[in-house]
């Protein structure tokens, strides 16, 4: 047989697969390895989806998605961030941010062009850049200052081939929320080098300590920013696969051209459910967000009390504690914790080299489970031989 596509063959399989397989084969597992809300979609939104199905709304929509939904999204972005995207040609409904990211990268990148990605970051960023024909260039951030973005370090990685910077605040896996001035400095850098900005803001509503800073709304950013967001996290709608891409018309239209040939449109009933989410899901979303925040505080405090240093996550629903005091690699830590105490966490190195020494714990899980997980992790730590003191 002739060889398959070398670009895909070169793409490493996701590092979490192995843990998924082990965890799936075990009983009595407390999983902090998930990446989605523990809530089902609020009933009024599910009911809108059911009504759509009952009414026989099972057809395609226009490529860009239901105009009503695009109008509602643009109005929502205007209300919350003062952005004035045009529903007609600057907003595209995608099958989640995952598709939006792929469209954005394919619309922007010529072969070999580089995308700067602060890491630790979501596992798909690098591979999506590669699959779009580009070259991912990661820029490390560290737990010492809460995974803060440093524009000067990003600037050091700029080359003549650099095309875009991929940002994500609040971030998976760190839960880090970037300060306005740090994001503004990155925007300034992008202006200076004429780079595009792709901003994945899927966790924007899950910002607990300060109001969300939308990258597109920063001075100078709008014309060069592709804003990606969606309904998965704030409205607990991960399985509906519905998100959006907003960008200036020339970019948005190009993204829509790829989308029309590859996806045609996002699921019709999911779009109607998303519309209901925007119309009447606010109270449900706020209630869930308040609940994540309470669990965040309990869990992060608990991690610190059992001796795992954890930078305070200001957003998303992840804690990213350092496990360097144990002397174990994050892979070893996660594997032994899973085998010994049946607690699943995700080793930090799957999110990039600078994630080594950390593990990702999702606290979108029942409080009683979180407390039991803390008991088990503490017991696990107690059984480890004392690590050599750090220098």
């Amino acid at each position: 047989m002739r060889p398959l596509n070398p670009a895909v063959v070169a793409c490493p399989p996701s590092g979490i697969r192995r843990f998924f397989d082990i965890a799936a084969s075990m009983e009595d597992v407390i999983s902090l390895g998930v990446g989605e809300p523990d809530y089902a979609t609020p009933w009024r939104i599910r009911e809108a989806g059911i009504y759509a199905l009952e009414s026989g709304i099972t057809t395609y929509t226009s490529n860009a998605g239901l105009l009503e939904l695009r109008e509602a999204i643009c109005a929502d972005l205007d209300r919350r961030h003062g952005l004035s995207y045009q529903p007609a040609d600057e907003c595209l409904i995608t099958a989640g941010v995952s598709e939006g990211l792929d469209l954005a990268l394919r619309a922007l990148l010529a072969p070999g062009e580089e995308v700067l990605i602060p890491e630790p970051c979501y596992v798909a960023y690098g591979p999506c850049v590669s699959l779009a024909g580009g070259t991912p260039v990661t820029v490390a951030t560290g737990g010492v200052d809460g995974f803060r973005l440093h524009a000067d370090r990003i600037a050091d990685a700029v080359t003549p081939r650099t095309k875009a910077i991929l940002l994500s605040s609040p971030a998976n896996p760190t839960g880090a929320v970037q300060a306005r001035e740090d994001l503004a400095a990155v925007v300034e850098l992008a202006v200076q080098h004429d780079l595009y900005l792709i901003s994945d803001e899927i966790y924007e509503r899950l910002s607990y300590l300060s109001p969300h800073v939308c990258v597109a709304a920063l001075p100078g950013a709008l014309e060069r920013t592709i804003l990606l967001s969606g309904f998965s996290k704030a409205y607990a709608m991960t399985g509906w696969r519905v998100g959006y891409l907003c960008a200036p018309a020339p970019i948005s239209e190009l993204a829509c051209r790829i989308h029309q040939y590859t996806m045609l449109c996002a699921s019709h009933m999911s779009q109607l459910a998303a519309l209901e989410a925007l119309r009447s899901g606010e109270a449900d979303a706020n209630e869930m967000i308040a609940d994540y925040d309470r669990r965040r505080r309990i869990f992060v405090k608990g991690l610190c009390e059992i001796g795992l240093d954890c930078p305070e996550p200001g957003g998303a629903f992840y804690a990213f504690p350092s496990i360097s005091s144990t002397g174990l690699t994050s892979q070893d830590f996660a594997e032994r914790l899973l085998y010994d105490e049946h607690v699943a966490v995700v080793p930090g190195d799957v999110f990039g080299a600078s994630g080594e020494g950390y593990v990702r714990c999702c606290y979108a899980t029942a409080l009683s489970e979180l407390e039991e997980a803390l008991v088990r992790i503490e017991r696990f730590l107690g059984k480890l031989p004392a690590a050599p003191a750090a220098h």
């Binding site: 996701s14 979490i16 998924f20 390895g33 998930v34 990446g35 925040d293 505080r297 995700v346």
Partner: protein, 163 residues
């Protein structure tokens, strides 16, 4: 402050320390606030929400619940209040509301058997002076109680490990 009530209404066991961690408030002010509400009788007591159908299935212990509509002829000066107060005194009466509609009072009554409840209505309720009629509705199945959904799967469908 509203958040303290929200948390306690979901989990009456939540300690002031835990509520303080959850909300970022100071533990002493949470404790003081709860104590004030208890003194002011805003918080009346802490109780468990029990799935009675499940209790019957698993333990065999039966608690019958009935909604009883009571018609009362009102009296000048007191309206329905004196009769409602009388009915409220019975421990088997869990709740009493003055309602709009065809009847005047709606009561929630529990007992060990239908017979128990029927007996209570016949002997105690219907005989109160100025009670002109009663209509008893036995609860056959409870789907949701006090904000708690008692039916449907609560299974976790999520992948155990996901990016």
């Amino acid at each position: 402050m509203r958040e303290i009530i929200d948390i306690l209404q979901t989990d009456g066991h939540a300690t002031p320390e835990r509520i303080a961690t959850m909300t970022g408030l100071d533990a002493d002010s949470v404790r003081d606030q709860i104590a004030t509400w208890e003194q002011e009788k805003i918080i009346r007591r802490y109780k468990a929400v029990v799935d009675l159908d499940r209790m019957r299935e698993i333990t065999g212990i039966e608690v019958i619940t009935a909604l009883i509509d009571v018609s009362v002829s009102p009296e000048r000066g007191v309206g329905f209040d004196d009769v409602a107060a009388r009915i409220s005194q019975f421990p088997e009466v869990r709740s009493v509301y003055l309602v709009s509609g065809a009847q005047d009072l709606r009561c929630v009554v529990t007992g060990r058997s239908m017979h128990d409840v029927a007996d209570f209505v016949a002997q105690k309720l219907a005989t109160i002076s100025r009670v002109t009629a009663t209509a008893t509705h036995f609860v056959l199945k409870t789907y949701k109680d006090d904000g708690e959904l008692l039916i449907g799967a609560t299974e976790d469908h999520r992948l155990r490990v996901a990016p």
